[in-house]
C-alpha cells in the first residue's frame, strides 16, 4: 500500500537531504596520501627489480614500526604540488634532480642539512655531479637514487661497413657530419637508417659542453642560452639532422623504433651511432645480447671525454609527517651497503635469465667501486663487457646542469627553443634569444625571495 502523501513527502525530503550531505562530504573529502600517522608514504618510486626491492626492504626495516606504503609510478608534478598545497604531502619523494632547485626555491622541500648531520651521512661518498644538481645556494635538498651516464653507442657492423673503422670521433664536427651523411639510408622520401643521432633536444647540454659552453652559470642564477657557444652547438646539432632528411622524417623513424624489443634500432640496423643513457645498455643486454655493440665516450671538440649525467634523487617534502624517518629512509636507500646488497641480488637475477649483467651506476662512489670490482664480472660477451668498463670509466668525466630556482621552467625554455628550431619555426639565434629572456625572467622571479 502506498504511504500517505505527507509521509511520502518527508521520506523524499529526507532522501534528498541525505544525498546532499553525502555529495558535500564526498566533495570536501578529497584523497589523502596517508590516512593515518603510522603510514609512511613514498611518491615517485616503484620497486621494480631487485635493485629496488632489496633496498626498499632495508629502508622499510629502518623506519619500522611505520607501515611503508609505496605509491608506484613516476613523479607527478601536479599530484605533488596539490599534496603540498593541501598540507598532505607524502613522507618522502623521489624526483628528477633537475626539478629539485625549483621546488626548493619555493620552500616545497626541506634542506637535508640536519638529516646529513643526524644520520652521519658522508657526502663525499656520493658522486659530486649528483650532489651539485640537488644543491641550491649551498644547501643540499636531495640524495641520489640514480646516476644516468651518457656514452656513445655504436652499431659496429654498420659503421665498419660504411667507414672501414668501428669508432666514431665526435670531436671532429666536420667529420661527424660526413659520417652521418654516409651512413644514413633512405627508401624514396622515407628515412630508413639514421647515420648519427645527436639526440636533441634532450642531450643538448652535451653538445653545449662539447662546444665549451654552458646553459647556465655555476651558481644557477644567470642563463647563458644565447651565448655564441650555445648558438653554435644548436646550429651544428640541427644541421646534423637536416643533413639526414630533416626533423619530420628523422623523428618519424625514431618514433617507430622498437626500443625495448628484440627488433630494436641497433638489432635492425636503423641507426649507426648515437649518445645514449647507460640503462639502455642493460636493455640491449636483455633483449639482444648478440648485437655488435660498440661503446665509447663522447668526446668534446678538444678530444676530451665528457659524460652528461642526470638522474633521480630522494627529497623530503615540506610538511612531511615523518621527517626523522624520512631521513632514515633516504639514508638507507642511498647507502653503499644497500646498493651493494641490491646489486648482488639483481646480478643473480639477471644471470639466472642467461643475460649478461652490465653493472649498476648508483651515484654512490663507494657502491659503484664495490659493484664494479666485486659483483660485476666479465661475461665473455666482449661487446657488453667493454660497455660496462666504459660506463664505469666515464663517471669521472661527468658534468650536470647546475641546480637553479626556476627548475622546470628553465629546462622548458631551452627545450622549447631547440624544438622551435627543429620544426623550422625559428632560427637558432632567435629561438635561443627568446629562450634566454624567458629563462632569465623565470630565474629572477624564482630568486626574488632570497635577495
Amino acid at each position: 500500500m502506498a504511504a500517505p502523501p505527507r509521509r511520502r513527502f518527508r521520506r523524499s525530503a529526507s532522501l534528498a537531504a541525505a544525498s546532499t550531505g553525502l555529495l558535500t562530504l564526498a566533495a570536501c573529502g578529497g584523497i589523502s596520501f596517508a590516512d593515518d600517522s603510522d603510514t609512511f608514504v613514498t611518491m615517485g618510486f616503484g620497486a621494480g627489480d631487485a635493485l629496488g626491492t632489496v633496498r626498499l626492504e632495508r629502508a622499510t626495516e629502518a623506519v619500522a614500526p611505520l607501515d611503508v606504503q609505496v605509491n608506484e609510478g613516476q613523479f607527478d608534478e601536479q599530484q605533488f604540488l596539490s599534496a603540498v598545497a593541501a598540507d598532505d604531502p607524502p613522507s618522502v619523494v623521489r624526483m628528477d634532480r633537475a626539478l629539485i632547485g625549483g621546488y626548493a626555491a619555493r620552500g616545497a622541500l626541506m634542506p637535508l642539512t640536519e638529516c646529513v648531520d643526524q644520520q652521519g651521512i658522508d657526502l663525499d661518498e656520493y658522486r659530486p655531479g649528483a650532489i651539485d644538481e640537488a644543491t641550491l645556494d649551498g644547501t643540499l635538498y636531495g640524495l641520489p637514487d640514480s646516476y644516468d651516464n651518457r656514452v656513445l653507442l655504436v652499431n659496429r657492423e654498420v659503421v665498419a661497413e660504411a667507414t672501414g673503422s668501428d669508432t666514431v670521433d665526435t670531436s671532429d664536427w666536420a667529420g661527424l657530419m660526413d659520417f652521418a651523411e654516409s651512413l644514413q639510408t633512405r627508401d624514396g622520401a622515407r628515412l630508413t637508417r639514421i647515420g648519427f643521432d645527436p639526440k636533441i633536444p634532450e642531450f643538448f647540454p652535451l653538445w653545449v659542453e662539447a662546444n665549451g659552453g654552458q646553459l647556465i652559470s655555476e651558481d644557477g642564477r644567470t642563463a647563458r642560452l644565447d651565448s655564441p657557444e650555445v648558438v653554435e652547438a644548436l646550429e651544428y646539432a640541427v644541421s646534423l639532422i637536416d643533413a639526414q632528411g630533416g626533423w619530420g622524417r628523422f623523428k618519424a623513424l625514431r618514433d617507430s623504433f622498437d626500443q625495448f624489443g628484440a627488433n630494436n634500432q641497433i638489432a635492425r640496423d636503423q641507426v649507426g651511432a648515437y649518445p645514449m643513457e647507460d640503462w639502455y645498455v642493460n636493455v640491449l643486454a636483455g633483449t639482444s645480447p648478440d648485437v655488435d655493440l660498440g661503446t665509447q665516450p663522447f668526446l668534446d671538440r678538444e678530444g676530451e671525454p665528457i659524460n652528461y649525467v642526470s638522474g633521480l634523487s630522494w627529497a623530503i617534502p615540506k610538511g612531511s609527517p615523518h621527517i626523522d624517518e624520512a631521513c632514515q629512509f633516504i639514508a638507507t636507500m642511498t647507502s653503499a651497503e644497500s646498493w651493494v646488497e641490491a646489486a648482488r641480488a639483481k646480478a643473480e637475477e639477471v644471470r639466472a635469465t642467461g643475460a649478461p649483467y652490465t653493472g649498476d651506476y648508483t651515484g654512490n662512489r663507494e657502491a659503484d667501486r664495490i659493484i664494479e670490482n666485486e659483483i660485476w664480472e666479465p661475461t665473455g660477451n666482449d661487446a657488453f663487457d667493454e660497455a660496462t668498463r666504459q660506463l664505469y670509466a666515464v663517471q669521472d668525466d661527468s658534468f650536470s646542469v647546475p641546480a637553479n630556482a626556476a627548475g622546470t621552467e628553465f629546462r622548458k625554455a631551452w627545450q622549447s627553443a631547440v624544438n622551435r628550431v627543429l620544426s623550422g619555426d625559428q632560427e637558432p639565434e632567435e629561438a635561443l634569444r627568446q629562450a634566454q629572456d624567458l629563462a632569465q625572467t623565470a630565474l629572477d622571479i624564482a630568486n626574488q625571495g632570497e635577495e
Binding site: 534528498a16 621546488y103 622515407r190 619555426d425 625571495g449
Partner: protein, 320 residues
C-alpha cells in the same frame, strides 16, 4: 502619473512577495529540496572555484609559498607573454578547422542514417561507440596512426601514390592531424542531428517537391532551416569544447617527460599552456588570469554566435 522608478520598485517588491509566498507551498519546498544537491555541487565545485580563481588571479599564489597581492600584473603579463598569443592562435585555428568539419560530417552521417530503415539501431550504436573511447586513448592513437614513417595514414596515402606529411612533427600538420583524430568521436552530434532531422515535417518536403524544388534546394530551404536550432546548439557546444581542448593534445605531446621533451609549439593549445603554468611552473595566480581570459574569449564568441542565431535560427512557433 506614477514615477516609472516607483513602478519598477513596486514591481520588484511584488515579485519578491510572490516568491516568498511560494515557499508556503509544499511542492515548491520539495522542488527546491530536490535541486539542492545540484545547487550545493554547483556552489562548491563550480561557483566557488571560479570566485577563488578570480581572487587568485590578482596574486602570486604558487600553492606552496606565501601569497601576496600583485594587482593587475598577471593580466599585464598576458600581453607580454609570447606563448599566450601562440597558444590562443593554435586554439582558434583548431576550433576553426574542427567545428565546421565535425558539424558537416555529422550532418552527412545523420542524413545517411535517416535513410537506413533496417538495422538503424545497430548503425546508430556503431556511430556513437567512439564517443566512449577515452580521450587519452585517442591521443595515443594519434601518434600511432599518424606516424610519418610507419603510420597507417601515410601507408594508405603511399598506396595511392601520395607522400604523406610528417603529421606529428611538422608544425603545419600537427593541428590538422589532431582535428582528424578528434573527428573520430562525433557520435553525439550525429545523434542530435538525427533527432532533429526526424522532426522535420514531411509535408514541407512534399510542398517543396510540388514547387519543383530539387534535392539540394529542399536541403537548403527546408532541412537546414528546420534543424537550425540543433545546428546552433551543436555550434555553441562544439565551439566551447574546441576552445577548451586539452586531453588529446596533452596526451600526445605533453603527457610524459619524453613527449614533453619533444613538444613543439604547434600543439600548445591554450588550456595545455594554462595547465603548464599552474601545475608545472606553479604560477597559480597567472594561470587563474589565463583562465579568466579564456572565459572572456568564450563568452564573446558565444554572444556573437547567439546574436547571429537571431538571423539564422528558426524555432518552432516563432513569428518570422
Amino acid at each position: 502619473m506614477s514615477d516609472p522608478a516607483t513602478l519598477a520598485g513596486t514591481g520588484r517588491r511584488a515579485r519578491t512577495r510572490r516568491w516568498m509566498a511560494s515557499w508556503r507551498n509544499r511542492d515548491t519546498r520539495a522542488a527546491y529540496l530536490f535541486i539542492l544537491p545540484w545547487l550545493v555541487g554547483f556552489a562548491l565545485l563550480t561557483a566557488g572555484p571560479m570566485i577563488a580563481s578570480f581572487v587568485l588571479s590578482f596574486t602570486n599564489y604558487d600553492g606552496i609559498g606565501p601569497t601576496k597581492n600583485v594587482g593587475f600584473d598577471n593580466y599585464r603579463q598576458l600581453f607580454d607573454d609570447p606563448s599566450v598569443a601562440t597558444s590562443m592562435m593554435n586554439t582558434l585555428v583548431f576550433t576553426a578547422l574542427r567545428v565546421p568539419l565535425s558539424m558537416a560530417l555529422a550532418l552527412a552521417l545523420a542524413m545517411l542514417l535517416l535513410r537506413v530503415t533496417r538495422g538503424s539501431g545497430f548503425f546508430r550504436t556503431v556511430f556513437y561507440l567512439p564517443v566512449m573511447t577515452p580521450s587519452v586513448a585517442v591521443g595515443i592513437l594519434f601518434l600511432l596512426l599518424f606516424n610519418g614513417n610507419v603510420g597507417v595514414i601515410n601507408r594508405a596515402l603511399e598506396f595511392v601514390g601520395i607522400t604523406g606529411p610528417s603529421w606529428t612533427t611538422d608544425g603545419s600538420w600537427v593541428k590538422p592531424g589532431l582535428v582528424l583524430t578528434t573527428l573520430w568521436a562525433l557520435g553525439g552530434t550525429v545523434v542530435i542531428y538525427l533527432a532533429a532531422l526526424k522532426n522535420v515535417p514531411q509535408e514541407l518536403y512534399e510542398a517543396s517537391e510540388l514547387d519543383g524544388a530539387g534535392r539540394w534546394t529542399s536541403f537548403v530551404n527546408v532541412t537546414l532551416p528546420q534543424i537550425s536550432g540543433a545546428l546552433f546548439f551543436t555550434l555553441i557546444v562544439n565551439t566551447i569544447a574546441s576552445l577548451q581542448t586539452f586531453t588529446e593534445a596533452y596526451t600526445a605531446f605533453y603527457g610524459t617527460a619524453n613527449t614533453q621533451t619533444y613538444s613543439s609549439d604547434a600543439a600548445l593549445f591554450y588550456v595545455v599552456y594554462l595547465f603548464q603554468q599552474a601545475f608545472q611552473f606553479m604560477h597559480m595566480g597567472y594561470a587563474s588570469a589565463l583562465s579568466w581570459l579564456l572565459f572572456l574569449v568564450i563568452l564573446v564568441i558565444t554572444l556573437v554566435q547567439a546574436r547571429l542565431s537571431k538571423r539564422f535560427v528558426y524555432y518552432e512557433g516563432e513569428a518570422r
